[in-house]
């Protein structure tokens, strides 16, 4: 029986790949073929759909918009969370436990609850339809998450490291940047990965907070599906392209992911 255990993950991975394969398959077909005949692979292989996306500015601007707010969000979340996580892992202060729990409750808030008030808040702040609005709004769940993960990594670093550095005459900012941050580099990588991931996949808030100028790629897809009939090939190509940034990021952090999870965070 032991010999066949590899079958379980193999079948599972096949199951994961099937819908992705189907999406790729559709993206290389012509609309006629999609609607006309049922084929397991493209008979008339075409790049038409991809060319359409790369030559239409509303499409590729969608990608730029998405990447812009995801990057801004990751930078804000990680840099704000670094000192906070340090404080939680090293010091006791008035209300620290309550504050930590309150931060985590924001991870539990359904985005649907916040969609409308967010729209009003960011309109009032004159930020509506900017990547910054989406980046800040995604901070609602990403900043608490970043604090949570980083605090886990920082608690694993012995306090003696801090003390030795002070004895050696390091000031706090210099110690933090030159010694402490390199020590928890893997943790910062894992944190950035999860911030990237949750900001990249979220759509409800991103859609609510943008109209034209900062519209994310995912929202443009929804529009295509509803207005211009049913351009499945185009939709499939756009969808396939949204998988790429995630795949690249996973490849780079693959060795850190398991470690980050092992600390019991996320």
């Amino acid at each position: 029986m032991k010999k066949f255990t590899w079958l379980v993950p193999t079948i599972y991975i096949l199951f994961l790949m099937l819908p992705i394969y189907w999406l790729l398959n559709m993206s290389f077909k012509t609309t006629n073929e999609i609607l006309g005949v049922f084929t397991l692979w493209p008979q008339e292989f075409t790049f038409e759909n991809y060319i359409a996306i790369f030559t239409d500015s509303t499409w590729y601007n969608g990608y730029i918009n998405s990447v812009t707010y995801v990057v801004i969000n990751t930078v804000i979340s990680v840099s704000a969370a670094l000192p906070a996580a340090y404080a939680f892992s090293r010091y006791r202060f008035l209300g620290d436990k309550h504050l930590f729990f309150w931060l985590l409750t924001n991870r539990m808030a359904p985005p649907a609850v916040f969609a409308l008030p967010f729209f009003q808040l960011y309109s009032a702040a004159n930020l509506f339809d900017t990547p910054l609005a989406v980046a800040l709004a995604h901070g609602l769940f990403n900043i608490p998450l970043a604090v949570w993960i980083l605090e886990g990594f920082m608690s694993g670093v012995p306090k003696e490291l801090d003390e030795t550095a002070y004895v050696d005459g390091y000031s706090f900012p210099r110690f933090f940047v030159k010694i402490f941050m390199p020590t928890i580099a893997a943790g910062i990588g894992v944190t950035a990965f999860f911030c990237f991931m949750f900001s990249w996949v979220e759509l409800l808030l991103a859609k609510t907070l943008t109209s034209v100028a900062a519209k994310p790629i995912a929202a443009i897809m929804t529009r295509t599906a509803s207005t211009s009939g049913y351009e499945l090939g185009l939709l499939a190509a756009a969808g396939a392209l949204t998988i790429i940034p995630g795949a690249i990021v996973i490849y780079f952090v693959r060795n850190h992911i398991a470690k980050g999870f092992a600390l019991g965070r996320v």
Binding site: P9, P110, V113, V147, L204, A236, A258
Partner: protein, 288 residues
């Protein structure tokens, strides 16, 4: 864990996070509370309504139905994803090249934007042009998720299993990897079988990460919106209208601010309460 020292200046370190999250959390939450106790006929004229909206929501059959659907959905996916995730983590390779391959391929669904997941499954399951739809119909079963509620539920659940089981796998796998080899050698000497090793070594060691997996899957599936909305649009009829879909319909579709706000607060409180209960129960078990 290092001993922590008292230091009130630590508040300065926390301040940026508090300000950023408070801006995002407190102001919108106050807006919601504000709407939930008032009635408006437009033009920014508001009338005090007290707890009327809360009573309405709590007594509305529509809310009961969405809540029931939500609870069933979350219950079903937890029952499938957690055991399946553990089983896959147990059978995954332990070292070498294939570990990376497994991790990268399994993590892939987690990084696909949620509406793309919905759109992908829509294309995959359509009865005429989708691979899944063709296969099931080919077996002689009449399958059309846009018309048949059972098929719609089946597809939504299969999609969620596809999307999120990997999270349980990754967590359980990380938990398994942290068990020292000495434990397994000791078990071998004692003549323990596969089941005994699982029940008395692996399962207790995975408890912490599984708690987190269940908690995360509970929270996220309870808030699910985009994927089923893109896949089925909440239909056929209202059969796959979960809480978030219903809420967005009321708030942004019908613009009934009062009832939507009251429902939002009740919804948020349910999630908080359930998480708190889960968390306390599991921590209690851990102490014993």
């Amino acid at each position: 864990m290092a001993v922590k020292s008292n230091n009130q200046k630590a508040w300065l370190f926390v301040l940026p996070v508090v300000l950023l999250v408070a801006f995002n959390a407190l102001i919108p939450l106050m807006t919601v509370v504000n709407y939930s106790v008032q009635e408006t006929f437009g033009n920014n004229v508001f009338f005090w309504e007290g707890v009327k909206w809360f009573e309405d929501v709590l007594h509305s059959e529509r809310f009961h139905a969405s809540l029931l659907r939500q609870l069933s959905f979350t219950g079903i996916i937890l029952l499938i994803e957690v055991p399946l995730g553990v089983a896959i983590a147990l059978t995954m390779p332990k070292k070498g090249f294939w570990v990376s391959v497994c991790l990268v391929l399994m993590a892939l669904p987690l990084l696909i934007p949620w509406n793309v997941v919905g759109a992908m499954w829509n294309i995959f399951a359509l009865p005429e042009i989708g691979l899944l739809g063709r296969m099931i119909n080919g077996l002689g079963i009449d399958y059309n998720f846009t018309q048949n509620p059972t098929a719609a539920w089946f597809t939504t659940i299969l999609m969620d299993v596809w999307h999120w089981t990997s999270l349980v796998v990754l967590l359980a796998y990380a938990g398994l990897r942290s068990i020292p080899d000495a434990y397994f050698q000791a078990a071998k000497i004692d003549g323990a079988g596969t089941w005994a090793v699982f029940r008395y070594i692996q399962l207790p060691k995975m408890k912490r990460v599984l708690t987190i997996a269940i908690l995360l899957r509970f929270m996220d599936s309870f808030m699910i919106y985009t994927e089923p909305f893109v896949l089925t649009g909440g239909g056929p009829g209202n059969t796959t209208t979960f809480l978030s879909i219903d809420l967005v319909k009321i708030a942004l579709g019908q613009f009934d601010l009062g009832p939507a706000a009251a429902m939002s607060l009740i919804y948020f409180l349910i999630v908080l309460l359930m998480c708190w209960v889960f968390y306390t129960l599991m921590m209690k078990n851990e102490d014993q």
